[in-house]
Symmetry: C2
Subunit: 442 residues, 2 copies
């Protein structure tokens, strides 16, 4: 055993200390209640997957970003990279699973990417996914939009929009403009940046990629269609008349909107963004992103879409699926910026101080009485200067200090001090729990 | 991208499907509420740690059991093996952490051990630890016993005992009997099996290890002391008179018992087992295990103790610590065997059936109304034979099917069928949510 090892952490991973985790756990509790109200059940899968299963989806590009285990030559096992591949594997391995399979899953994933902790880019991070596998019905897509909508509202966030689009509509636009399928990826990768670099920026980028100018202008013309959802759909329909694929995309968008409305989502929260492209080789139908309207350039809180070709990789028949991912750290940071985070910073609500003349058993009894009254608390274990004990309570954010020295014990009283309000009362032992509860709730 | 990859799972790891995870999540919610009432806050640490940090505690023996990452030659990073080393690292890296640091942590750990899934031995499993770092006070040990006691009772388990002992008392017994310190590990490894192999078995094993017969008999004589806690302590004290170490151990056990009593634990739940040894090179003071009394040879539900020398490995001053680990899968299995598991097996309480003449938007609206009334539900997406829809509800354990075909929609009614009770009612749309709630709670 080496006598001293320097305590340190791999770059790009982090500890989550109680203050932050209390907030995240509270956030998760709210979200999970919404997920489960929609009939999604929890799923957990192992951290380690066979490498060929991960590469079956990500191919050689994924290979660089996957953490492999040294086990058996280093080419057998690896850490999961997302929650979608494990979901597909679970579906393929459990043919008896009742379908459609609706699951939520919140677990860490690992990516051997460049770490930028200051920008919130980590090599280990929690993913929060909600997916429905086994139905091609757009009602499932509508539910996923609604579950995220309800979840974000349940957290107290009200200033947000759901931007939607459809991959079939995008393919239709490309086809209608006369751009070859082989150039679709380049085209949409540029268009996806329209928000950031503007129409001229996209135009310049596409020119550099040798995309023909006239068809590109036709596409960019469509991208300029904005307005209320029904208006965008009507204008897109008129412009793209004749393209079967585009018509299918428009029709799917209409069905999605009808679905979310039936699920109680106000339609003025929905915005059709024809330049939203998301995950180029992944999605096959509706796609969407949720964005704050009150903070500019904040990044999306959630995003998802339909991916009907995924599970087929594992030797099975293709299974239709649709899913959404919620960016937990993004949402936490939004709650902080919007001052909506009402979480405790510490668990204990009372610190039971220990005076030189308080037997420890008496401190424990006081704690026990508080806990029986539903109040989380802790005791100071060793007698110490009161100042130090109050400082600990302040540092931990514990609102109340309870004191019972020899005189209080003799008199059958407890002294309660509310730190932030500098309020102090001495109450009979039989009433102190009730009084502490009153101080905490007032 | 390979066209077909066989979906499979590494031996010794497993998926946790919704039915089991709903039960585990409910169990965890109960336990966490108890942990936090005692002032323990949540902590999460990364899966990957530097290998030298893991080996700093486990040494070369641990080396074989640790999953290393292939990253940088395979000797840099590894997956955590337990939650205690990460805790020590967190304490060493965060000198500003308010002390004592009380944390609970529930995360998976990985061990490259022989997998025996049938016996519940996995290579990835969830650990559930509660530790207090930074105080030598035995009140912290008493709290850990009490937090487990309260947690297990909150789950509905009542037939259990907390078996306690003390490493100082054990060392005192060895010393008093005249056995060399170098033979302590062998001695206690055998004695730990007393429950399984009996006194004669231990005697035979120790003879094979060349431990001197007479001192061994002295030790075994002490091991035969049983009775109520105070009786065991009094007899041990009398027998071991003169051994300072033994006296210290007895005094610590007394203090622990006084502490747990102050915390509301009935003393007839506490049993001093002088042959309880647990984790030979790890613990330094009180040790304990929680066992069911209603099921024989079930293994312990939880166990822990004080380990005052741990955090010192990482170049820091020694920090006293005490902790307890709850065996979640053991507890789950106990709840099952005792028929105390009252968990839902699925999230949805109502399946909204879809008839050929029900528009999907209407199904979604019915769902939305149920959810607004707090009832978790899901819809059948595509029209199908009713028999198939009822079968899905049965397979998933969804108690109620709601139906609204053209005639119900025209009449403004919804038909509710409680599957298990074969009860069926048709109620006005305005009242169906209330009626469904009544059916579910009756």
């Amino acid at each position: 055993m080496s006598p001293t090892v320097q305590a340190r952490l791999f770059k790009g991973v982090k500890d989550v200390l109680p203050e932050e985790l209390l907030a995240r756990n509270q956030l998760m509790q709210t979200l999970v209640a919404v997920f489960e109200r929609y009939g999604f059940g929890p799923l957990e899968t192992p951290a380690m997957e066979y490498l060929d299963i991960l590469l079956g989806k990500y191919g050689t590009e994924g290979d660089k970003l996957i953490y492999k285990l040294a086990y058996k030559g280093g080419e057998t096992l690896a850490l999961r990279y997302d929650l979608t591949v494990p979901l597909s594997r679970v579906v393929a391995m459990n043919p008896d699973l009742p379908m459609p399979f609706k699951r939520w899953q919140v677990q860490p994933v690992w990516r051997a990417d460049r770490a930028q902790p200051a920008q919130g880019r980590f090599r280990e991070f929690i993913q929060c996914d909600v997916d429905t596998v086994g139905t091609a019905s757009l009602a499932a897509d509508a539910e996923n939009v609604a579950v995220v909508h309800d979840g974000i509202r349940a957290l107290g966030i009200d200033d947000f929009l759901v931007r939607i689009n459809n991959r079939k509509l995008l393919a239709g636009i490309r086809e209608w403009a006369g751009i070859a399928p082989a150039q679709e990826a380049d085209l949409f990768r540029s268009i996806d940046k329209l928000d950031k670099i503007g129409l001229d920026g996209v135009r310049a980028e596409l020119a550099k990629l040798d995309l023909p100018a006239e068809p590109v202008e036709k596409v960019l013309g469509v991208m300029e269609i904005t307005g209320a959802p029904e208006e965008v759909l009507a204008r897109a329909e008129a412009t793209l008349a004749g393209s079967e694929r585009a018509a299918e995309g428009v029709s799917e968008l209409r069905e999605l909107l009808e679905g979310v409305a039936a699920l109680g989502v106000a339609l003025d929260r929905m915005q059709i963004d024809l330049y939203l492209t998301r995950g180029l080789d992944y999605y096959t139908g509706p796609i969407y992103e949720v964005n704050l309207t009150s903070i500019e350039k904040f990044g999306s809180l959630a995003g998802g879409g339909r991916y009907d070709d995924l599970a087929g990789v594992y030797g099975n028949a293709t299974v239709p699926a649709t899913g959404v991912s919620i960016g937990l750290s993004r949402v936490l940071s939004a709650l902080r910026k919007l001052d909506l985070l009402k979480s405790r910073t510490t668990t204990s609500q009372v610190l039971v101080a220990r005076l030189e003349d308080t037997p420890i058993a008496e401190c424990l009894r006081i704690c026990s009485e508080l806990r029986a009254g539903g109040i989380a608390c802790e005791t100071y274990y060793d007698p110490d200067r009161l100042k130090k004990q109050f400082q600990l309570a302040e540092r931990k954010g514990i609102p109340i200090v309870a004191l019972a020295g020899a005189s209080e014990l003799a008199a059958g009283t407890v002294n309660l001090k509310h730190l932030a309000r500098s309020e102090q009362v001495t109450v009979p032992r039989a009433e102190f729990v009730e009084k502490a509860a009153a101080l905490l709730s007032s």
